[in-house]
């Protein structure tokens, strides 16, 4: 018994689109390796990113030479505690500390001079020396900043030790109130960013791979002598891969919500719509890549090459305002930059289309340019 809908005849253009899209999905569904890779990217990879990557100082090793060995010095040392710091060694000789630094066995060396408590008690200015291995500049900077903060608080506390009330001191007390991610949870921020990186990577890679596979097999020739137009050859690949990516996004969202308990304050349908636009337009880059390379291995390399600047320029790690002017302009043409803005807006700030429309508009326009370039390259290659 044939179901009634099978008798429905679609117009040729749509029927071809349907059949070719189904074909792409069937082929993808039978590629166990690729399916496993996509599944891992949208779940495992994001989980690792969310639970492993934190942008705070954790377990920085510190070696301490306490030349004073007094109540004050011990109190200062006590303030370098886990989870930020881990005391690696208490030294009897300051020279040992330099050696440890040289050998890379400790990251920070704290040297407290012998007259530390005496000076403090005498209300005289005193100094401690902090040496930081800043080979990893980010962590080094953080470590220095934390240590400075600890020393400063220690100093203020001591200075106020004898004072009756806090208010009597003319110092500014800064009380932070962090919005949208109140506990500065990297578990929210990092996996959301990672998800967008994955979406970007797959939007480029999957259509490129699907196209190159046809080239490798030689089936592309068969399609070219058929009455299909270039856009009819391209579009089904893009649509099928977009569908797969949206499914992947869904599994990531489930994980964000239930594993990392991230809030989704805005509208999910809006997020899906934005993602669909983003995926389809970004795939243009993949199609352009497919015209330049001949096999899957080359697709892999080209995608890595293309992804690096896209991610660096997305503004995720460094805000656009912090970039030199030339690079800043490059950032403004990275579609990922806008996708990130919109997504963070929807997920964490609960912003709606009324606030994000300008970002969406720019992203769409940039994407369209990219897609058109891909289409033109593809058509030019067929000539």
């Amino acid at each position: 018994m044939t179901p009634p809908w099978s008798r429905l005849e679609l117009p040729p253009f749509l029927e071809r689109l349907r059949v070719l899209t189904v074909k792409e999905l069937l082929q993808l569904g039978r590629d166990v390796g690729l399916i496993a890779f996509i599944a891992y990217a949208f779940t495992g990879d994001i989980y690792v990113a969310g639970s492993g990557m934190q942008m705070q100082l954790r377990n920085a090793t510190i070696a301490i030479y306490d030349g004073d060995d007094s109540a004050a010095s011990r109190e200062l040392i006590g303030r370098f505690h886990p989870p930020e710091f881990r005391i690696q060694a208490l030294l009897s000789d300051a020279q040992d500390g330099l050696r440890l630094l040289d050998q890379g066995r400790t990251m920070i060396m704290l040297d407290i001079p012998s007259q530390f408590e005496r000076d403090l008690s005498a209300r005289q200015q005193t100094a401690v020396q902090l040496q930081v291995d800043a080979s990893n500049s980010v962590i080094g900077t953080w470590a220095a900043a934390y240590a400075t903060q600890i020393a400063a608080t220690f100093g203020t506390d001591h200075a106020m030790g004898g004072m009756p009330t806090e208010a009597a001191m003319p110092i500014i007390a800064s009380h932070h109130r962090i919005w949208f991610n109140p506990n500065s949870m990297d578990e929210w921020f990092v996996p959301i960013i990672e998800m967008m990186n994955i979406v970007t990577m797959l939007s480029i890679m999957l259509p490129a791979a699907a196209m190159v596979r046809e080239k490798e097999r030689g089936t592309i020739e068969q399609l070219l002598v058929s009455p299909l137009t270039p856009i009819q050859i391209m579009l089904p690949k893009v649509l099928a891969m977009a569908l797969v990516i949206l499914l992947g996004i869904t599994s990531s969202i489930v994980m964000l919500r239930y594993v990392f308990a991230a809030p989704i304050r805005g509208s999910l349908p809006l997020f899906y719509a934005v993602s669909l636009v983003y995926v389809i337009t970004t795939s243009g880059l993949g199609l352009a890549i497919a015209t330049l390379v001949n096999n899957l291995a080359q697709v892999g390399m080209a995608v890595i090459l293309a992804l690096a600047p896209i991610m660096l320029l997305s503004g995720t790690w460094v805000p656009a305002e912090g970039m030199p002017p030339g690079i800043r302009w490059l950032m403004y043409i990275s579609p990922l930059h806008y996708y990130v803005e919109i997504t963070l807006g929807i997920f964490l700030r609960g912003t709606g289309l009324d606030m994000l429309w300008n970002h969406l508009l720019i992203m769409t326009l940039l994407g369209l340019v990219m897609f058109t370039i891909g289409l033109l390259r593809f058509r030019a290659q067929l000539r």
């Binding site: 099978s6 040729p12 349907r18 070719l20 074909k23 069937l26 097999r217 068969q222």
Partner: protein, 654 residues
């Protein structure tokens, strides 16, 4: 007694679940030229790699000159005695190095002493006539030259046994004959043994002995002449006014009867020609027979007999096509012009791939483009199908001008490409339905069309199988089915049978023949199998981008007979010397073919025999046997090319 050059016993090689070589026994005597012939995937390369010591094997034993080759250490001991040339043009060479640099590199690798090396290099370069091009980078050489350079590099360390994996596949016939002559010469002079594989059955007669491989096993081995005796039969060719009726009638008695251009080819199981032709006339009964020729069976008949003994699939008559849908391309009247090429030319940079090619193909005709790889066949097809734009020239396909009606042409043609046009990760039916949708065949129409395609290509039982799991011959039939899905009146087939075994090739051609006769489909088909060309109604020979001859296969042979005469094959003890003697006397076309000398003569058999014997006897050479035959398609091709080159030189000379 000297040790055999090579003894292989019960060799087995497996790749996971796939058994590539299934218990092969093989022996090569010193100085012997052994052929290993079989289709792609028969296990030839695996066997040769195992013998050359570059691949391990699972069971059995290999001994080269009495030395066992079973461990890597043993293989290292044997390697100096062995020369191996892998499959593919110039696979053992470096494209960016010149001829001389390639040779020097290999010689240094093999630690050939400088003095010996200079001497060998000079001699080999002279023999292969590459000495004029020593500074040319390998990548700029023609296919034939690459193979000759490959052969030199294989011979530099003077091995006792050389192993050449398909050295002639895709090489043009002239260079191919050249290659064989050089190889025979070397073997005769140096006493080297050789194991050479080939995909062409018609090359079998060049070997001292051949082993025919199929699905990892040796089907049969022995001297070529002996193998032909295995099937005592006569091939009868008949030409009838009503070919299809005759075919149907003959098939009831001889199921392997085939349409062969405008002829019918029948294998009658008796060596007595008189008796064979009488049986055929008797079966035809009322049908008037215009012409009847008897021939000895070919090696392909032997293989097909052997294979069909256990496969038992007989050629079926294809059912009539279902009525065409209104949207299907309008059928053209039989005999109407289906394809026309007018002075088509295409250049890629400085390279002229196609040079003023013209031909006309009427509806219902099978038209063959025969030529080596790189002759321009595929480029012609690509221009006619609208994938490539010609630099100059015109063409009409299905009554439409090809230069500005690409989409319209594409809807009216079916195309089956060289590299397989199928999706391996889809099933038979999924592939067919995909192409049905691409060509806009409605789902309603698919219901009548699909069963017909499955019946024609004999795939009904395999409709749910994944393409990746199907053997090559079956895949090719499916690709044909995909090309037929929208009932096109014209088919373009680009090397559709490349690498398929003889049985699969015959079935494929049988389907094509019936489609042409019954459905009136016009076909343009390219091939580099010389023997396959005879299935075509009409042929165009392509060489270096140009059509050098254009006629029916029989017409071409008759033209050659009229120009040069019949072929005589001379058996003698010293074929190399005999060939030189004969070439210098009255037979300028004398050439080596295996250990025999072939030549053309227009004179009476008795006169020719007397002259050959007199010439050779004067130099003390005995002549045990001389036989006369009609030229092969390869003769036609080579002589046409040589004639063209001669004329080219005459025109160039002042």
């Amino acid at each position: 007694m000297t040790a055999a050059a090579l003894v292989v016993k019960q060799l087995v090689k497996r790749y996971g679940n796939l058994t590539a070589v299934a218990g092969v026994d093989l022996e090569i005597h010193p100085g012997e030229l052994m052929g290993l012939i079989g289709p792609d995937g028969a296990g030839k390369s695996s066997l040769m790699k195992a013998i050359a010591g570059v691949m391990s094997y699972d069971q059995g034993s290999i001994h080269i000159r009495g030395h066992s080759v079973s461990t890597e250490r043993e293989a290292e001991v044997v390697k100096p005695m062995v020369g191996f040339m892998p499959q593919g043009l110039g696979q053992n060479l470096y494209p960016d190095l010149s001829i001389e640099e390639n040779i020097d590199f290999v010689a240094n690798l093999r630690l050939v002493p400088a003095e010996a090396m200079a001497q060998r290099k000079e001699r080999l370069l002279r023999m292969t006539r590459l000495d004029a091009f020593t500074k040319r980078p390998m990548k700029n050489l023609s296919g034939g030259m690459k193979q000759k350079l490959g052969l030199i590099c294989t011979l530099l360390h003077e091995p006792a046994l050389i192993i050449l994996d398909e050295p002639t596949t895709g090489v043009d016939p002239v260079s191919r004959r050249d290659f064989w002559t050089i190889l025979s010469e070397l073997l005769v002079q140096r006493g080297i043994s050789a194991l050479v594989s080939s995909a062409y059955l018609d090359e079998a007669s060049r070997f001292d002995r051949v082993a025919l491989m199929h699905q990892g096993a040796i089907l049969v081995q022995g001297k070529p002449q002996e193998l032909l005796q295995l099937v005592p039969a006569t091939v009868v060719h008949v030409r009838l006014a009503d070919q299809m009726a005759g075919l149907a009638q003959l098939r009831t008695h001889f199921p392997k009867t085939l349409g062969f251009g405008e002829w019918i080819r029948i294998l009658v199981p008796t060596a007595d020609r008189q008796q064979a032709s009488e049986r055929v006339r008797q079966i035809l009964g009322e049908l008037p027979c215009q012409e009847l020729l008897c021939e000895a069976p070919e090696l392909e008949d032997v293989v097909v007999e052997r294979l069909s003994a256990d496969q038992h699939e007989t050629a079926a008559t294809i059912p009539r096509a279902p009525p065409r849908h209104h949207a299907a391309p309008a059928p053209l009247a039989r005999g109407a012009l289906a394809i026309e090429a007018q002075a088509l030319s295409k250049t890629f940079g400085a390279f002229r791939a196609v040079d003023h090619v013209s031909f006309r193909i009427p509806q219902g005709e099978i038209f063959g483009l025969l030529g080596a790889n790189g002759a321009g066949k595929t480029t012609v097809i690509k221009m006619l199908t609208g994938i490539l734009r010609p630099n100059s020239g015109d063409g009409q396909v299905a009554g439409v001008d090809m230069s500005h009606s690409g989409p319209m042409i594409r809807q009216r043609i079916g195309y089956m490409s060289q590299s397989f046009s199928l999706y391996f990760d889809l099933t038979v039916e999924e592939n067919l339905k995909l192409y049905a949708a691409i060509y806009g065949v409605s789902r309603h129409e698919q219901r009548s069309r699909l069963p017909w395609i499955l019946a024609v290509t004999e795939l009904t039982a395999r409709r749910s199988a994944l393409v990746a799991t199907l053997p090559m011959g079956v895949r090719q039939r499916l690709a044909l089915g995909c090309a037929l899905i929208h009932a096109p009146p014209i088919l373009f087939l680009d090397e559709p049978t490349s690498g398929v075994d003889p049985l699969g090739r015959r079935r494929f051609w049988d389907i094509l023949f019936q489609l042409a006769r019954q459905e009136g489909v016009a076909m343009l088909i390219t091939t580099h199998y010389m023997t396959e060309a005879e299935y075509c109604d009409h042929l165009a020979l392509m060489h270096a981008g140009a059509v050098i001859a254009d006629d029916s296969p029989l017409g071409m042979k008759q033209t050659l007979v009229a120009r040069l005469g019949h072929v005589f094959e001379v058996e003698t003890q010293d074929p190399y010397r005999a060939q030189q003697l004969l070439q210098q006397s009255d037979f300028p076309h004398a050439h080596l073919h295996g250990r025999r000398v072939r030549l053309f003569s227009q004179d009476e058999t008795a006169i020719v025999e007397r002259r050959i014997m007199a010439r050779l006897a004067s130099q003390g050479l005995g002549v045990p046997g001389i036989s006369r035959s009609i030229p092969t398609m390869e003769d036609v091709f080579i002589e046409n090319v040589l004639e063209m080159e001669r004329r080219g030189r005459m025109a160039a000379a002042p």
